[in-house]
Point group: D2
Chain length 323, copies 4
């Protein structure tokens, strides 16, 4: 997992003191410099902006070689090395890159976001200042229905009439909550207490600083199809608009080896082997021996590992080995 097999060695001189340490310059990424400070809109009133960054694809290569200036820009080899690191989850060189974003996000969404503990955060303080006068509004066509199969997800949207009623009601609630807040402030109530009944949809802002390794982990979890729609929209912007510009080689490898990878368990490998040997019948027998299905079709109860395996094959584009 940690091996750097067959990568060209980088033997350091006995005394690097004798090395010709020339003055160096900071890693720059022109593509990212171009959008520095510009907001990408997310949801109805949120955004993400890059404030500053450190490192680039080249800084990762530099760290992996642990010897500054290991030759001229060997783009071909650099790409190979980065892809190697990504494939083998050799994450420490990725930590050498850091980015600082300015985000505006509903508190509800922020509650999920902040659970990623390896970032540095400075959030707008509603103890110290008046709360931002904006809450996330839902358009009539955006109300999502509870998923049946997945207790934690949504599936489809509500029909228009219901949607319109819910959006109207949402507006009323926002207005009332803001009015209550304002009256408390005007009555001299402390900001730290006046805010207590603001809706979770109220926008907040923060500086969020994180290294690339932890950012990719965040994106892997939050761009995933089961992540909640709102945070998935933020993650998508960060990935496709920002990380792609910042470290294009890493981003490409991330797509190939993580975001779109598929993992098979010990059990699934047995079935896979049977299928690869051209024996769907043996695959079926293994599935039965694993209790994934009963001997007689039709009456088998739902087995989640079986469902998940079927989904993986479907993703790869392969016909199911059984019915």
């Amino acid at each position: 997992m940690l091996l750097l097999s067959a990568m060209p060695a980088c033997v350091m001189k006995g005394s690097p003191m004798e090395q010709n340490f020339e003055a160096i310059e900071r890693h720059q990424v022109t593509e990212l410099n171009r959008i520095l400070g510009q907001p990408f809109q997310v949801l109805d009133d949120g955004f993400v902006r890059v404030i500053d960054y450190m490192g680039a694809d080249s800084a990762i290569v530099q760290a992996a070689r642990v010897s500054y200036g290991a030759g001229t820009t060997r783009i071909r080899q650099d790409r190979t090395l980065i892809r190697y690191l990504m494939r083998h989850r050799h994450t420490s060189p990725l930590e050498m890159c850091e980015i600082k974003l300015h985000i505006r996000v509903p508190m509800d969404c922020w509650r999920q976001w902040i659970r990623h503990r390896t970032a540095s955060v400075n959030e707008y303080s509603t103890r110290y200042s008046i709360a931002i006068d904006a809450a996330q509004s839902t358009k009539s066509g955006e109300w999502r229905l509870q998923a049946e199969k997945n207790r934690q997800g949504s599936d489809g949207t509500a029909e228009e009439t219901l949607g319109r009623r819910l959006s109207r009601q949402e507006q009323e609630l926002h207005s009332f909550a803001r009015q209550v807040y304002n009256e408390r402030i005007e009555a001299g109530i402390a900001r730290e207490q006046a805010r207590k009944d603001l809706p979770l949809s109220t926008y907040t802002e923060a500086y969020w600083k994180i290294d690339l390794s932890n950012l990719l982990h965040f994106l892997e979890l939050r761009m995933e199809e089961h992540a909640q729609s709102e945070i998935r929209q933020y993650a998508g912007i960060i990935g496709h608009e920002i990380v792609r510009r910042w470290v294009p080689i890493v981003w490409e490898a991330f797509q190939d080896y993580h975001a779109n990878a598929v993992t098979f368990s010990r059990q699934e490998q047995q079935i896979l082997a049977a299928l690869l040997k051209g024996s769907p019948e043996e695959a079926r027998k293994i599935a039965i021996s694993l209790n994934w299905m009963s001997d007689e079709e039709g009456q088998s109860r739902i087995h989640y590992e079986k469902l998940e395996f079927e989904e993986k094959l479907k993703k790869i584009g392969v016909v199911l080995p059984w019915k």
Copy 2:
């Protein structure tokens, strides 16, 4: 800071393999076992309960000596050693103790709590389950006024008439918000979206697991007089009811060396030296040279370092060196 000066050495045998490693038992704290699982009420509907723990005062001593069974229970020396560690912020042995709490807390308060990143958390999920049907209510006498001097605090409480009006209005808002939530759920809207406009005062629950070193840091910040009242109440319960029972020697040292300690800056030490030499006039001159006050009394603008110094002296119980 890191020295373990003059502590009795603990030379390990050449080969601990030859040590008589007898079977050992887990550290137990009778006082804490007695309250395991019992809720301490906080606010109107919140609580804190101990679910499990690892370690005790003795485990800290064990880690500091890095040799199991370093003699019989030498309570006197153990106390001296722990106090030494606490005084010199030798925190790593404290990390050997761990505690797991079950808490119920308004989301507003939880937003501050969760900022302490070194804990493990499992929070009640409102994506997966119906939101807890309770929000923190404020009694008519509990509405706090905005502090004038401290942009981030409160000072005094609102008069009764105002308080009654605000509490009534709070109740209306809670009812309306819950009604909206319930209607969405009944209409089949996904729980993950239905919850978006719940008030920040809605209660949540979580398992919160943290080591003793980081817990003390949490308590130092959150039991402090400038922390917001709500979280201060939780911190107080955790400190006085739980940590005190769990690691009594550490808790006593924490009070002496951290919670009630006072720190003087380089500049303050100069003034302090003058005062200790019995020269209030020299102290005054130093303060003027530091720009803490002007030469002529009365017209000096507010200087925060001066105010803070005065507060420190007052805390110690000393008369101010200048009127």
Copy 3:
């Protein structure tokens, strides 16, 4: 990834205050209690011992359900839930378990170990005490040869004559280094400086405390075949002798879903799909289009992704799609 699809819901009562909070007891694991304090030998003079722990399989279930006492011990469902969590890398409930080990390990090996940053450590201090009088010795048959293919590994062992010479020389070096250390100490040189030339193979001891989630990550990296032999031996003992006793359901799932899982990249999935459809020729064409091999056999340069894919298939037990 984060979904808890189709798991039975655990709706909490409106006011848990009304719940019948009975006194609870700490999670106990009889199998682990039985070996508490007993050293498992590793290498020639090292060991691992369990000192204390917190949590068990049941604590993970408890955290995942975030509601204490969610029914009687439903072992069948508990296993299903834990396996679900493990399969989907839902790691936060695993953090609810914590273990404290006492280890004795060569400093060289410890240098790799300590790179796992999420643990708490109290190491035996050679500033404060005399260094442990033991260094890891290599038997004549244990000298490993440098791997050709893998710059970072070993492959086979040296022949006996060479091995004997190296072991003898190693002994001389250990003796000389220890003699130098002793002379410095006797001459009154500070321990902190006297130790500077001890060999990296000198044993050290430490308390090492870590949560289960991070421990499994450690084991995944260090039990892996490319990890260095010495740390792999420690990891093996911790996994098979300790974690297996402590959290048997987690351990079984870890084997199935992590240690023995195999992951296919976006590119590999294309080839896999071709093979599953019974078209080795198409698989070959894809490999060529990916630059994994040249059109004409025999002259293709080594391509690491191709080699890795072949190894994965071999592991599954499938014949290579190309010669």
Copy 4:
């Protein structure tokens, strides 16, 4: 502790979307740019070089205000704000700054360094490459004697004759150890095993990346007088040569409020109060009641809190209250 009392508020507009988000540029520090890549020598063959950085004094102010572009460069106010943050250990804005160093350091010293877990590290690999052919040598006048009072420190240096003998012997050991290493390598032994008996004084190199808050914590512990001489030299260079150039306002405040601050315990404050009231006799009585000394002078055993208090007063420049 966390209050931002009386700091000018920074109310954000209702919709920052309407703000005029102009393109921004990265924070630059000319003083630091000037020395980028240049090594500062430490010990006989070690160094520290800045490779890259993110942020500046202004970035801290920006984060503290959590609103980009809060006006023109108000240097006076910025300094006041930063000093306020530093005084009250309001550390999160400091985390917005990040620095990456390239260091060369003896492994012995690195063992202490690496214990600071909040940094990112890429170390030169002696599994993968030949070990650096240099070990830290001690000049005849640099051999430090074991401190009597402090079990963990040194005190004075050995006399010249002894020093010469020890340096000669050190050289012999280094030569022998390197010869053994070379013979192993030449015999084809794996690098990962050949290195096992290198002396701890062997140099290693690493990229070390850390945020400013954690770097200051590192410096506070490692620049302290009880830290081991070797790491103290590295910390001194990082502080005085690098941090001073990078964030001069923070560095000044760090000196005033942390490095040179003095903290008094609850007990010490009682004595201090008595002294400030001009009652050395009462101070004496309190000390006796605290068991710091016995009633009758001369026969009192050593009490560490008393010694530490005396040292603090001495540091402030005050005559001891008792003989």
